[in-house]
């Protein structure tokens, strides 16, 4: 679902009283479906990862229960990720604006946003996060199936069993790193983004500051509709 559909989905103008619709209901639902399923897999996965974190399995009903649900919730996460891919792929492709922004990312990290070139609906970091999760989940799915049905991997191809545990662990760790940054930025660092993924709206100032090209694009279209 690209930017244009975000506006039209509301039926009326995207800009209402200084507020702009940033995420449609469908986008929010799929984001949170992904978030909850990922967190479940994270908690149970960490339990299986280290004896010092095995107590986490107790929180979700004990080891066997955690082991039973982990692959199923993992499948649900995969589906939500694929749905997000379907919705966001056009918005997530890297553009020249992103490349310029990425070279100035230092200013973003140091909160000197005025020195940054303008970007569209998502910035370079958000796109990086999206693609890391997308390819991460593909690796997790394939290796996860190998772990789930490990006895179906023939003994002559047993290197696949060993590869599966390794790939699953490496892909999971990569997504965890990205997840830590994502949660930090979405809640503590970039004020306004957490409410936007819950209620869907941001202020016009927020849009103009963080995603100027996107802001200009939708305000232009809104004024054209009027």
């Amino acid at each position: 679902m690209s930017t244009s559909q975000v506006i039209s989905s509301e039926g009326t103008a995207g800009e209402t009283g200084g507020r702009i619709l940033r995420y449609t209901l469908s986008e929010r639902v799929h984001h949170w479906l992904g978030a909850f399923t990922y967190c479940y897999c994270l908690i149970t996965g960490l339990a299986f990862w280290s004896p010092y974190m095995f107590w986490l399995a107790v929180l979700v009903g004990g080891g066997p229960t955690a082991r039973f649900w982990h692959p199923w919730l993992g499948l649900a996460f995969t589906l939500s990720m694929f749905w997000m891919y379907k919705m966001w792929r056009p918005d997530m492709l890297m553009t020249d604006a992103d490349r310029r922004w990425s070279q100035a990312m230092k200013y973003y990290i140091e909160n000197e946003d005025k020195k940054l070139p303008p970007v569209g609906r998502f910035n370079y970091g958000q796109k990086l996060f999206f693609w890391l999760m997308f390819f991460g989940v593909i690796l997790l799915l394939i290796s996860g199936l190998g772990l789930w049905f490990v006895e179906s991997v023939p003994w002559s191809l047993r290197w696949l069993r060993y590869l599966a545990v390794t790939v699953h662990v490496i892909a999971a760790l990569a997504t965890i790193g990205a997840f830590i940054i994502h949660v930090y930025m979405g809640t503590a660092m970039v004020r306004g983004s957490f409410t936007s993924i819950i209620r869907g709206e941001v202020s016009t100032t927020w849009a103009r500051t963080h995603h100027r090209l996107w802001y200009e694009q939708i305000t232009k279209r809104v004024s054209a509709q009027k």
Partner: protein, 296 residues
Amino acid sequence: MSQATLAIRKISGHAGPAPGADVERDYQVCKLIDTTTCIGCKACEVACLEWNGYSFTETVFDNSYQTMPETAWNYWNLIKFNEHEREDGSITLLMRKDQCMHCADPGCLTACPADGAIVQYTNGIVDFQQQNCIGCGYCVSGCPFDIPKFNPTTKKMFKCTLCVDRVSVGLEPACIKSCPTGCLHFGTKDDMKDLAETRAKQLRENYGIEKAGVYDPAGVGGTGVIYVLHDVTHPEAYGGLPKDPRIPFLVRFWKGPAKWIGNLAMLGGILGVTLHYLRFGPKQVDAEKHENGGQP
């Protein structure tokens, strides 16, 4: 094990030291399988099922005498029949009783994430504790002999226990008890090793079987089940017995360095974002009116 603590150390009013003092006894148990005297009668398979309370499973024809292609969660002991061509062109049948090897360095135990689901006793027996098993199947990836099997009904892993319930009360395992040719022996690791080497020497010197030897792979720290093979240089001929079994490299990497690197990276990530917040703080939109703030 409990008897070990009751060995006499000091005796009152006794002329000289306590009998047996300073004598080390090996309490590590071992099963010796002499493949050169196995006749493939499958009595051990039946005894295993009977003692452990499993009913006989339907056989799977595999173009040989073999009961089924491999062991199962409820079939822990299987003789592998292998047609083997001798150097002179004649055919012989190599028969090897396959079961858990009870490694000194068990890959299943290394891979297992569940607290107390796999234990190794002082006597060397590696035993699954199904009440703690979560059914993840990591032990399948860790085992260099492809032994642990999944019960889809209870979602627990099973394998040969070396009849720990019999051994703990001074009995020998059920398979040993049933063997009619005496190709199976049970005792301490030292005694079995000695017996096996004697038999291998006999095969080499008296029967001209030059490559006869003992299979007790060092890669897994030695095993609690050892074989006498006609050709110890080629164990693969006995139904895929690995020549140099080890805990797979990637499994050791996963349970070793990867754990450290991963945990440090996760801690580093949390520390990193915390420090960032303390140093740079949140991104607030400048022109935002503070009273309605737009945002929390």
